[in-house]
């Protein structure tokens, strides 16, 4: 059926789309809001009605939409009997709940949010019921957890609500995650994640070695959702939610999802020993335990909650039996439970709403105060107790019948006894609910005077109560067809048609039922003493245990994080180093090395001297690093030696660059050290120093070994090409420079951008510092009193006047020759900045700054832009970025000279370097001026010629007088 296929996804989507509306239109009023919530629900229900006939006739409506075929996750929907049953329940009860909630919620509650959450939840449930893809089902499954979280926590001002919501989400979420694993295993056994495919591979799956893990994982999901022992504890605490939520979640929807899932998977998973023992046992325990606790709960909703737990146990047990008949009974009981439990919740809500209390011990005699409510509640409760002729009786009878045939843990007797006890307890709490709430003496101490609520609020429970009776009286007419198709869907058509009727004759079930009813009444009579016993018996409080568990996990996590991520970068680095060494060796051990192919170069004595110097200085830094100034000087020595090494090993460019960069770096560090402590205290204990030393030595040895091993082996490299093409294609004889500005000009482009960013960063940082708390530190800065008094010595100033222009000229020279001989824009930029630095040192930063010709920001900017545009200029010629061009020109009478675009690029480098270094110095010197250094007005401390003038002036004055 094409049309129906289209309708199915629309039906699922309707609540989600509708969910947007109430949240947005709450200002339009509560009625409008409720109406617009009801509309999508109603529409969905109508769509369901359109599709229902097909299903009732034994057909299946399917729809397939590709979503993520790569994974096998598709939006495939299937509406069969089971789906129809659940979808109908979800939408039908949903509609009733919407109506009920309209009257239940007070004006203070944000109703728009509520309806939004409700529709989201409804959509998610609907999705579960009609998914034909287990991954899609998982999506909806987790969505129910999330949306129920919102619903349960709806009254966010109540701590119980928040805790209940968190607990519900944690438990069901955990189950959902387990189920993900289970479903993935299942899908992999079956070869598809499509439910319809999986359903056909039941035998294969049950035979698979992965059956048991899959079963356990999926059951974890189902049990947590359906609040089965030992995960039952979350459900009662979810009762903090507004009653409509409880009524919806705990009668028809949320908790039934687990049951639904077991029913869905029944053809695939059921029928094995494992299934039988796990599922039926858990169900049985839950049933009895839930009923027992329910009997002693004083809160109406808590009582109902545990009764729900108990009934869910019952359903689980039935499904666990694994026989088609038991499954059919389960389906039937699902319907019945829905009708009476939703009714009861709503009634409890009405009682709460009217009397402002839900404590049974404070209630009583409400039958006369709110007769209609009482009538409805009594009908529903009797049904729950299994009193004929109500629907609860029938399904309970059938359940007991199934129990009587079941061979469990070595016989039928154990289960018969336990089930009867469960039924007995169930009867007892039902009677208690009725008796202690509605009958007995009328009390006058209610916080609020109770009376029957408006019709709108009663309509929903009343309707359901009518259903309770109707199904009880005409089971095959009303519930028969749907039970048939649903159970057929569950059992995969193996179920025989069941004729639903009230009277089956005197069967073992009937006897058990009578025993249970009488026993239940007896128990209620004994309730007072039993209650005392119950209260005095210590029993584990699941919620407390859970919360303590969460708290322990939380604290342990915090502890773990605090210990591991404690902000100790030193330790992070130590771990980093050790890991690198270990992993490096591990990687090496998988390979080997070719025999050495290179001989060793000789070591002349001079190199040995340099080596000694380097090593001694290095060792000295380690031992003397606490005196920072000394350490800096030693760094200079190391820099000098490294440069020497580069000179010796035929790398003049490197030597030039290294020595200039070192100088500038050391100077920057010196400037910074001015504000830093001058000494490093010895803080690490010796053991730590030894440890660090060991790590360091290991790392050093590893790196040395690595270097040594490749130094002994030859390899052919790509640089032959560079040597061959440097002059021909790059126009320069200094291959290193041609590589820098041409072959790998893009690297250089990146490198100057790094410098530019560094300049901007430092500038921005200084701005931040001067506007932050650091500025106070600086303003209170005190300089040592014994500073030397000559800031700008005459000799230095004069020498600089000559030195600086020469240094600038050297910079220009180095810049211009770089293409053919060692040098280039970078070194030139540094030389130029060293020249300027000289001037700064001589006459002070402020004085020099006032006379500068260029702005450093602009230099960086222009540098990067010039380099970039030079590169982009190649586009004009249709060539790629950074393609260079060069030519040789002669202007008579001069000799031939070369012009290359690479030089323009180098100019960009030059400008950026100069600008960046200067901007760094500028930023730093601002700190000093902020700290109180004054800017001098004269280039030197005292120009001696002024002494002469001053003397002359004095003489003049003398003469004048």
């Amino acid at each position: 059926m094409v049309s129906a296929s289209g309708l199915l996804p629309v039906m699922v989507l309707l609540p989600f789309i509708g969910a947007l509306v109430p949240g947005l239109m709450i200002r339009a009023g509560r009625n409008a809001c409720a109406t617009f919530t009801a509309i999508p629900t109603l529409l969905a229900l109508i769509l369901l009605g359109v599709m229902a006939p097909d299903v009732m006739n034994g057909g299946t409506v399917t729809a397939r939409i590709d979503w993520l075929p790569g994974l096998g996750l598709n939006a495939n929907f299937m509406l069969d009997g089971l789906g129809l049953l659940f979808a109908g329940m979800i939408l039908g009860v949903g509609l009733l709940i919407i109506l009920y909630a309209r009257f239940y919620l007070s004006g203070d509650d944000p109703m728009g949010q509520f309806y939004t959450y409700l529709l989201l939840f409804q959509g998610a449930m609907l999705g579960i019921s009609v998914s034909d893809n287990i991954l899609l089902l998982l999506v909806f499954w987790e969505l129910t957890s999330l949306s129920s979280f919102l619903l349960i926590g709806y009254w966010k001002h109540l701590p119980e609500g928040r805790q209940g919501a968190r607990m519900a989400l944690t438990v069901t979420g955990a189950g959902g995650l387990a189920m993900i694993a289970g479903m993935l295993i299942l899908g992999n056994i079956a070869g598809s994640y499509d439910l319809s495919v999986i359903l056909q591979h039941g035998d294969e799956i049950r035979a698979s070695e992965y059956y048991l893990p899959a079963l356990i994982l999926i059951l974890l999901g189902a049990f947590t959702k359906s609040a089965q022992f030992p995960f039952h504890f979350w459900l009662p605490h979810a009762m903090a939610a507004p009653t409509p939520v409880s009524a919806y979640l705990h009668s028809a929807t949320m908790v039934k999802a687990g049951v639904f899932l077991m029913a869905r998977m029944w053809p695939v998973l059921a029928g094995t020993e494992a299934w039988f023992y796990i599922v039926s046992t858990v169900g049985l325990i839950t049933m009895v335990l839930g009923a027992l606790i329910a009997l002693f709960k004083d809160d109406l909703k808590a009582l109902l909650a545990f009764s729900t737990v108990s009934h869910l146990g019952l359903l689980t047990m039935l499904l666990g039996f694994g026989t088609p008949m038991a499954a059919t009974v389960a389906v039937f009981h699902i319907i019945n439970h829905l009708t009476f439990k939703a009714t009861l919740f709503m009634c409890a809500g009405i009682v709460d709403h009217e009397t402002h209390t839900r404590d049974i011990k404070r209630l009583g005699g409400l039958a006369s105060l709110m007769p209609i409510t009482a009538l409805i509640a009594v009908v529903a409760a009797l049904s729950m107790a299994g009193i004929p002729p109500l629907n609860g009786f029938m399904s309970k009878e059938m359940m007991l019948e199934e129990v009587a045939h079941t061979h469990w843990w070595g016989g039928t007797w154990p289960i018969i006894i336990v089930a009867t006890v469960g039924a007995m307890l169930s009867v007892a709490y039902c009677f208690r609910f009725i008796g202690h709430t509605f009958f007995g003496p009328v009390r006058d101490d209610y916080p609020h005077h109770p009376h029957d609520p408006p019709a709108g609020m009663l309509a929903a429970p009343a309707f359901l109560a009518v259903m309770v009776v109707a199904i009880g009286l005409f089971p095959s007419l009303i519930a028969g067809p749907i039970v048939d198709v649903a159970s057929a869907a569950v059992t995969g058509d193996t179920a025989e048609h069941v004729h639903l009727k009230l009277w089956h004759g005197v069967t073992p079930a009937l006897i058990m039922s009578i025993v249970a009813t009488l026993g239940g009444a007896f128990l209620l009579w004994l309730h007072r003493p039993l209650d005392r016993v119950w209260l005095s018996t210590p029993r584990p409080e699941a919620k407390a245990i859970f919360e303590r568990l969460v708290a322990v996990v939380e604290r342990a996590s915090l502890r773990f994080t605090e210990i591991t991520h404690n902000g100790a970068i030193s330790r992070y680095l130590a771990i980093f180093t050790v890991a690198t060494i270990v992993l490096g060796f591990a990687a090496y051990s998988g390979g080997g090395m070719a025999p050495p192919t290179r001989g060793l170069l000789p070591v002349p004595p001079l190199v040995a001297v340099g080596f000694v110097l380097l090593m001694v200085a290095t060792a000295a830094i380690v031992t003397m690093h606490r005196n920072r100034f000394r350490a800096l000087m030693l760094t200079s020595v190391i820099g000098l030696m490294v440069s020497a090494g580069f000179v010796y090993l035929s790398a003049p460019d490197l030597a030039l660059t290294q020595i200039t960069v070192d100088t500038v770096t050391v100077l920057l560090m010196l400037v910074a050290l001015h504000f830093l402590p001058k000494d490093t205290p010895s803080e690490s204990p010796t053991i730590l120093k030894v440890r660090d030393g060991a790590i360091a030595v290991a790392a050093g040895a590893a790196v040395a070994l690595l270097a040594y091993s490749f130094l002994l082996r030859d390899v052919s490299t790509i640089s032959d090409y560079h040597l061959a093409n440097s002059y021909k294609g790059g126009g320069g004889t200094n291959v290193v420079n041609v590589i820098l500005v041409d072959f790998r000009g893009y690297d250089t482009y990146g490198e100057i951008i790094v410098l530019g960013i560094a300049g901007l960063t430092l500038y921005a940082l200084m701005e931040a510092l001067l506007n932050g708390p650091a500025s106070r530190t600086l303003r209170n800065w005190t300089f040592p009193p014994d500073r030397s008094q000559d800031r700008h010595p005459v000799m230095m100033v004069v020498a600089t006047r000559v030195m600086m222009p020469i240094a600038v000229l050297v910079g220009v020279y180095i810049f211009l020759r770089g293409h053919n001989l060692p040098g280039g824009g970078f070194v030139a930029g540094l030389v130029m900045s060293i020249a300027l630095l000289m001037q700064y040192m001589a006459s002070g930063f402020g004085w020099t700054q006032e006379r500068k010709r260029f702005e450093y920001h602009s230099m960086i900017g222009w540098g990067v832009v010039v380099a970039g545009l030079t590169g982009a200029g190649a586009w004009l010629a249709g060539a790629p970025f950074l393609t260079s061009a060069f030519g040789y020109f002669t202007i008579p009478p001069f000799e031939e000279f070369e012009l290359a675009t690479a030089m323009l690029f180098d100019l960009g480098v030059f400008l950026t370097v100069l600008g960046a270094v200067m901007l760094m110095l500028y930023s730093l010197s601002r700190l000093a001026r902020y700290a109180g250094e004054t800017v001098n007005l004269e280039p030197m401390d005292y120009d001696p010629s002024r002494r002469f003038e001053a003397a002359a002036e004095v003489n003049d004055k003398k003469d004048g007088h």
């Binding site: 000087m633 000098l640 440069s643 020497a644 030039l656 100088t663 500073r787 050297v810 001989l821 070194v827």
Partner: protein
């Protein structure tokens, strides 16, 4: 003969390097250390020039020139640090 002369000079300046290193580590005053660094730089320039003669190339000339320049700047900077704290006030 030049070879011997160069080797001799190498030896002298090499010894000088070691001496300056010793002085730098031993001090005792900060001025000694800075002086040691300055002397080291100068010895070093001499060595590079010698190496240039040895190799018969002028390609290392820039290196020695730059080292002379930056050596001066850093010596002054180290001194100014001790004298004033702020080297570019």
């Amino acid at each position: 003969m030049i070879t011997y002369a160069i080797v001799f000079a190498f030896a002298c300046f090499g010894f000088g390097l070691l001496g300056t290193l010793w002085r730098m580590l031993a001090g005792p005053t900060v001025a000694d250390r800075i002086l040691a660094l300055d002397t080291m730089v100068i010895n070093f320039i001499a060595l590079i020039i010698l190496y240039g003669i040895w190799q018969g190339t002028a390609i290392y000339f820039e290196a020695s020139m730059l080292i002379a320049m930056v050596g001066f700047v850093s010596t002054v900077a180290f001194c100014r640090f001790i004298l004033r704290g702020d080297i570019i006030e």
